[in-house]
Symmetry: C2
């Protein structure tokens, strides 16, 4: 297996990305990691003799976090993230991993690999830790599509359910639609239209759910537009970071017995923080593109990059693309799609 890694993507790139690639490559000798980026800058973080399963593929440009995603991907034909997806298109890589601009990753994936038949708008998803046996709940979209139509939300539901089925072994994913209350009268015209659509679906659809239900363990997939999803994701990260910070502060400031307690509790605390630390999840696929693209957190540490590479390996092994395509085909009778795509393999030209 060959994974193309955007060496220039992420707040700590290329240092943390290269270090993460080495971590992963050391543990997984059967998988090759292709570092895509600026040769000299990448090499500066590689040992003199890199492991045989770490390669370098040149790309002279970088999409900065502050850039407009679509414009940057269009104008920078040699941007590392775009070149990585080109490797996937040419069959030289089985998946792409990036910790860079998620909007640019989506734009590059769309421009180079295109969408799966039945998908108008691929989505970006986030895995939340949840109580209960499943341990997690998928929220999507979390930022790829700030404005959505009801058919997009219904497509997200199909994609999200197929993803947790293929990659997390959930046989019958429980799907709900995010709203401002559980009663049918709640929501907006958008959510009410999506509610009606999803009631006709072949999914295990539970109707409206609220933000707190992400953590209840009673849902596997929660669907919303990218504006709301992004706000929920960022606020949740803020609460988690704030709470663990406050707890640490309380322990640090406490009088001796509690301080002793804090020291004894340290491993528990670290475990908790890991549970809510986005870097541990390691990355989530772009859902609805052809091929496999994994987006990791922008602040990814080397450990997080290695984790994202593991996610990519597992995603390829689980044949996510096959699972998504089958689910979309099954949904054809009830799921409206605007785009009529050509046969698989006939990818659209560059934008």
């Amino acid at each position: 297996m060959r994974l193309a890694l955007d060496a220039m993507g992420g707040d700590l790139a290329p240092a943390a990305v290269v270090e993460g690639a080495l971590l992963f490559a050391g543990a997984e000798p059967a998988v090759t990691v292709i570092l895509v980026g600026d040769g000299p800058r990448v090499r500066a973080h590689l040992p003199l003799r890199p492991p045989p399963n770490v390669e370098l593929h040149p790309a002279s440009q970088v999409v900065e976090m502050s850039e407009h995603a679509l414009a940057a991907v269009r104008s920078k034909r040699d941007a590392s993230v775009r070149v990585a997806f080109e490797l996937a298109r040419r069959g030289q890589a089985d998946a792409v991993v990036t910790a860079g601009h998620s909007g640019a990753a989506m734009a590059a994936a769309l421009a180079v690999l295109g969408r799966l038949p039945g998908v108008d708008r691929p989505a970006l998803a986030a895995l939340f830790p949840a109580l209960g046996a499943s341990g997690r709940c998928l929220l999507l979209d979390v930022g790829a599509n700030a404005e959505c139509r009801a058919s997009h939300l219904a497509q997200f539901a199909v994609l999200g359910a197929a993803y947790v089925r293929a990659c997390h072994g959930v046989a019958a994913p429980r799907v709900a639609l995010l709203s401002n209350g559980e009663e049918e009268s709640k929501g907006t015209p958008l959510t009410r239209e999506a509610l009606a659509l999803l009631r006709r679906s072949d999914l295990d659809f539970r109707g409206y759910a609220e933000g707190k239900d992400l953590f209840s363990g009673e849902l596997d997939v929660l669907v919303t537009d990218g504006f709301t999803g992004n706000a929920v994701l960022k606020a949740s990260e803020g609460v988690a970071a704030g709470l663990t910070g406050l707890l640490q502060q309380a322990v640090d400031r406490a009088h001796l017995p509690a301080r002793l307690g804090g020291l004894l509790l340290r491993s528990t605390l670290a475990g908790l923080r890991r549970l809510v630390d986005a870097s541990e999840v390691g990355g989530v696929p772009l859902l609805g593109i052809r091929g496999v693209g994994i987006v990791a957190h922008g602040r990814s540490s080397p450990r997080a990059v290695a984790s994202a590479l593991r996610v990519a390996r597992r995603t390829v092994e689980a044949d996510l693309e096959g699972g998504l395509s089958a689910a979309l085909a099954r949904a054809r009778s009830w799921l409206p799609t605007r785009a009529v795509k050509g046969p698989k393999g006939k990818t659209p030209g560059p934008i």
Copy 2:
């Protein structure tokens, strides 16, 4: 001062509400609490000789949490929440407190007391704990208005800023608009229009902010539509509840040293939970109505009800209505308002 308390509102009503009224009345003998609700059911939770500053005012109907707010308030003329606002309209109460259906509280306030001049859509706000000196950030709207226009968002900004100025002593509130990224190119047509509007305002407006900025201590007011705000509020409550639950679970399950640590840390943990426990905040005013209406959490405990009554007392003392009216008058040059309201005192008739 006289506070009208909706005795039938809330998941634990009337028991917890009456108990909360007694708690408050015992501590604040100069304030009278009027319990509005079903006589026999309320009396069942009162001592044989109630304190002299606890009164009962009859109301034969109740708005249930599952009802459609506007329809219920229209059809149930003798609903406790509506009767409570009637007391305020007739000058028999200085403020209304309810832990019931927040939509019904808003509908009743609008029907009975009406809006302040310059306000098209009153908002429901939530106070979040934040790092830094201020210690809190106000998010609005959190559910009263699922669909908004840009002028509504701008009005929320004025109302929120005036509220933290009047009731939390923040001289120059820092205001931002919730978006899915800080760059101007982010957001939706709605947020971009509101951004342009607020840039022309007399507020200390910081542009776009993300969900995580609620907790950074760098903002006093964060503005969004009621659909997104509700999702953010509920998700944040979910994270906080989930994290403290997980921490408790970890402590309970840990081997002896960590368990010992847990025992020693117990007071710290309790303090943290208090910090994130909605019941401690006690209630937030409906912003933009005439008069004072305080909405407490639906699951309010007696302590939370007492806390909401304290919020009501402080809100009346701070002359919130005067502060809001002055801020709206100052904003008249830049703030679009659809509704042209009559002079103050000429409240609209019942809906």
